[in-house]
Amino acid sequence: MSGFTEVAVTVNGRRYSEPVPDRLLLSDFLRHRLGLTGTHVGCEHGVCGSCTVHLDGAAVRSCLLLAVQTDGFDVSTVEGLAGDDGLHPLQEAFREHFALQCGFCTPGILMAAADFLAHNPAPTRNEIAEMLSGHLCRCTGYAPIIDAIAAAAEAGAG
């Protein structure tokens, strides 16, 4: 059994302060405590990338973090990606390029791509493929995802 620790974390701009079981994964905290089910769990060992969220702006795997480790941090998830004025350019580009099929891996890829473009606003296709190789997608064969990220970069998403 595990104890509880008080955690104060901001998620998508909203502040939460509550006792959290020490061993609770960040992915489970987001999904089952906060109801943010857009973050998906595909492997729980850090390979598939579906659970990727931002921790103070950096892409991290929420299945490899404990919720208590986010105390004092700013977390953002796919639910926070679109603005009040509509979809994020990456989301638009994914729709335009048919870059998703089942959509299960998509939230993690969107979050990773947003962080990637923030640091590399004009990437080559190879650089995009390298970044994307940290994510598993079994539907698309990846090419449409690379197209979408490249298009979003051109549209100034970074």
Binding site: V47, C102, H135, T140
Partner: protein, 803 residues
């Protein structure tokens, strides 16, 4: 909406997917996102670490005392309230969802913990103490056959293969093993089960994909009349590729656990469980013999197949072996073929649906032996293919084993592919490189072809080929493949569609809206499509679901048929209002108008209002209501006949791949330089979604060609139980795919469409194997063609100083 076409021509357009926005903003609704019943307890499964062992005892005392635990259930507890899973073949090893007395594969469930949350369930699962007596395990299919673990042994003969083989100018032989791999989706299995003791019925939510034959199997194992098993699927499912057909076993497991404990339960599979126990493609070893005339004509084929289905024959197996039976001769006009099919049990996880489903295994053997035949005859493989392709005038073409190919122009597809690939130039380049090669040059060029017929819309009767005609005669004949869809127009003229095709990302809702819009003269935006299955609500048959690439051919056809019937009804009502014949009414832009008189019309909204609010106004004899359910059945899918001939599928696309590879003999690494694929899938309903399916199925073909395999050690321990060990192809391993299309509409499907979601999974392993073997001049290379495997093969072929 992109690509907005003229009214009535949405089929073939490329609108954005209606599925996308929710998925992009994190509002998808997958199984683990649902809480359809309050208070569901979580299941944690205890699984066998041994591939074969006797269970001497299970001590669950500590687990039961663990915090938050309601119960620990053993196989005996569930066997007391349930039944074994029904199998396709009598005499198969009895299969229960939780093992009783003996475990037969590593990962088989032996106990079920029911606890307040998943963490507590997993804590308690570790405390369950199972006393095993390990037994000898058999992992290799050939060893299983030798040991007599054969559950089915059937021989087939069409034409006179012995005589043709005896008279052949050249006979080539080969053994082509195709090991296990799994198309493994990124979302694992999930089930939420709620047994109601008041009515003795079960409601289950599960990311099951069909076929709904398995609903019947599940109901049988639950001991329920089928009407008391209500099975629902969530709005979204995170991929399947066949795999999630296997969810039905867990529907039974969770249902029985809910029944015993009297509470609703939920189980979400983790990745380690999935890779160990969800299922995989069969491991098939094919010995094949091909006889050729001197000019390259293929005269006869003989197969000897051993198919490892794992520890239990899980329905619908041995379907992997028979799905391609009508296509034993592939794309070729050869009339003489024989096959012996043995299905064997091993101590490995039961196999099941997996993208390509029998096609990759068949075509690896057939296309490799075609390449070997060409080499033995000193002919170019493209010429040998062309010499043997079924000619366009032969369609519809009956294959020797009973397949009925609907349409195609195979030679034209081959020409397209060779031209796009620059095949002659590639061959010249290869010859130049070989002529100028020095010992310091480690890079070898190879070119590989694959010509594959891609069947879709499976005949539900083909599986009965596993029985002899006499055995079949004792049961009911099975045939066909039917699908239903429901369309309804609400009082304001809006249209809803309900599908039973259970998509996992293929965009069925988008395409159904296009199809309905065309029939009703609307825009797809006016049509709301639901794709959740509810077996108490939807129009479905045993063949419903998402497999055998059946949506375009039969799923969309059911929508078209229902929409046409609704349109016919609207035309009758409009004809009454407009005082013209129903046949003179056209539906366009939300209006019903008299043809040729654009100003004489009435809105669909008004017609719908009349039908709902004022049924007294309807034409004499017209049934009130605007909901239409239509079923369509694919034609020509008779049960197998006494000669064991069967049309295994209703539609047949065609795929030609040309792969150019470079193999580095110093490392064994394979690099794909160029890859061209030409498809004929008949009428394309949404070309962008079509290309998406092709790209995905190509990735699933390259995986087992180069990287992916499910590996067990000789004791049956799984060595690929995580994504660190089971290497899914990633974005850096998949080369650009150049896609070309040709179109010969199917005469056998309502919209002329053929399935296309599996073709490159069938063709790519063969094309890549042919290319690598061509590069190295080596005949025997087992998949996947990893660098170490190639390096070892080169070392073995050159024992002197290594490659």
């Amino acid at each position: 909406m992109s690509g907005a076409p003229a009214p009535g021509t949405w089929i073939g357009a490329t609108p954005h997917r209606v599925e996308d926005e929710a998925l992009l903003v994190g509002r998808g609704r997958f199984i683990d996102d649902l809480s359809p019943v309050p208070g569901a307890m979580h299941l944690g499964l205890v699984r066998s670490p041994f591939a074969h062992a006797r269970i001497r005892g299970i001590d669950a005392a500590a687990a039961v005392e663990s915090p938050g635990v309601l119960a620990v259930l053993t196989g005996a507890d569930l066997a007391a309230v349930g039944r074994p899973l029904g199998a396709v073949i009598r005499g198969a090893t009895e299969h229960r969802v939780v093992a009783v007395d003996v475990v037969r594969y590593a990962g088989e469930p032996v106990a079920v913990v029911v606890a307040r949350d998943r963490y507590l369930a997993e804590d308690a699962a570790e405390l369950v103490d199972v006393d095993y007596e390990p037994l000898e395990a058999i992992v290799d299919p050939l060893a299983a056959a030798e040991a007599g673990h054969v559950v089915s042994d059937r021989s087939f003969r069409y034409g006179d293969p012995e005589a043709e083989m005896a008279g052949a100018h050249t006979v080539v032989r080969g053994r082509f093993p195709f090991g296990r791999w799994t198309a493994t989706p990124v979302e694992c299995f999930g089930v939420i089960a709620d047994w109601d003791h008041a009515t003795d019925s079960l409601t289950v939510w599960a990311n099951f994909q069909g076929p709904f034959t398995l609903h019947t199997v599940a109901a049988g194992a639950l001991g329920l009349p089928a009407a008391r098993l209500r099975l629902l699927t969530p709005p979204d499912s995170g991929g399947s590729f066949g795999t999630k057909a296997g969810v039905f076993g867990y529907v039974v497991l969770a249902g029985l656990a809910s029944k015993v404990c009297g509470v609703p339960v939920r189980w979400i599979e983790d990745r380690l469980e999935h890779l160990a126990a969800a299922g995989s493609a069969t491991h098939r070893v094919t010995d094949v013999e091909a006889g050729f005339a001197a000019d390259g004509e293929l005269l006869a084929l003989r197969y000897d197949v051993i198919e490892d289905v794992g520890a239990y024959l899980r329905a619908p197996e041995p379907a992997t072996l028979y799905r391609m039976h009508g296509s034993l001769t592939g794309a070729y006009a050869v009339r003489h073929v024989a096959a012996r099919n043995r299905v064997v049990h091993t101590n490995r996880c039961p196999t099941g649906l997996n993208r390509g489903f029998g096609g990759p295994q068949l075509y690896l053997a057939l296309e490799r032996i075609m390449a070997r035949g060409a080499a033995a005859l000193g002919l170019d493989p493209a010429e040998v293919a062309r010499r043997n392709l079924i000619p366009p005038e032969a369609f519809p073409y009956r294959t020797p084993s009973g397949g009925l190919y609907d349409s195609g122009d195979y030679a034209a597809c081959l020409d397209d592919a060779l031209e796009a690939a620059g095949y002659e130039k590639q061959r010249r380049h290869q010859a130049d490189r070989r002529a100028g090669a020095t010992t310091a040059d480690h890079r070898r060029l190879g070119i590989g072809l694959a010509c594959v017929v891609e069947p879709s819309i499976s005949n539900m009767g083909y599986i009965s080929l596993a029985e002899t005609p006499t055995e079949r005669a004792r049961g009911w004949p099975k045939s066909g493949n039917a699908e239903g869809a429901t369309l309804a127009m609400n009082p304001l003229g809006g249209v809803t569609v309900r599908l039973s095709t259970v998509p996992q990302g293929q965009g069925h809702r988008t395409v159904a809206a296009q199809v309905a819009a065309d029939a009703l003269g609307l825009s797809p935006a006016d049509v709301e499509v639901q794709s959740e299955m509810d077996t108490h609500v939807n129009a479905w048959t045993v063949s419903s679901g998402n497999y055998s690439s059946r949506f375009a051919g039969i799923g969309a056809a059911a929508v078209a048929e229902a929409a046409e019937r609704l349109a016919g009804k609207l035309r009758r009502i409009a004809g009454d209002v407009l005082e013209c014949a129903a046949a003179d009414v056209e539906l366009r832009d939300g209006q019903a108008r008299v043809v040729g008189q654009p100003d004489r019309g009435v809105s669909l909204r008004r017609l719908a209002g009349a039908a709902h609010w004022n049924p007294e106004s309807l034409p004499e004899g017209l049934e009130p209501g605007l909901a239409v359910t239509a079923f369509v059945s694919a034609p020509n899918l008779d049960p197998p006949n006494d000669a064991d001939e069967v049309a295994t599928s209703a539609a047949h696309g065609f795929v030609v791949d040309v792969a150019a590879v470079e193999v580095d003999t110093s490392s064994g690494a394979v690099r794909i330089l160029d890859y061209v694929t030409v498809h004929d899938a008949g009428t394309l309903l949404h070309p962008r979604l079509v290309d998406g399916q092709i790209l995905g199925s190509f990735a699933h073909g390259l995986g087992p060609a180069l990287l992916e395999q499910t590996v067990h050690d000789p004791d049956g321990n799984l060595l690929t139980g995580s994504f660190m060990d089971y290497l899914c192809a990633t974005s850096t391993e998949i080369p650009e795919l150049r896609i070309l299309h040709r179109c010969t509409p199917s005469p056998f499907t309502l919209l002329g469409a053929k399935g296309l979601g599996e073709g490159n999974t069938m063709s790519a392993p063969a094309a890549v194997a042919n290319a690598v073997c061509d590069a190295l001049g080596i005949d025997d290379l087992d998949l996947p063609l990893t660098a170490p495997r190639i390096w070892e093969a080169l070392s073995a072929s050159d024992p002197g100083d290594g490659p």
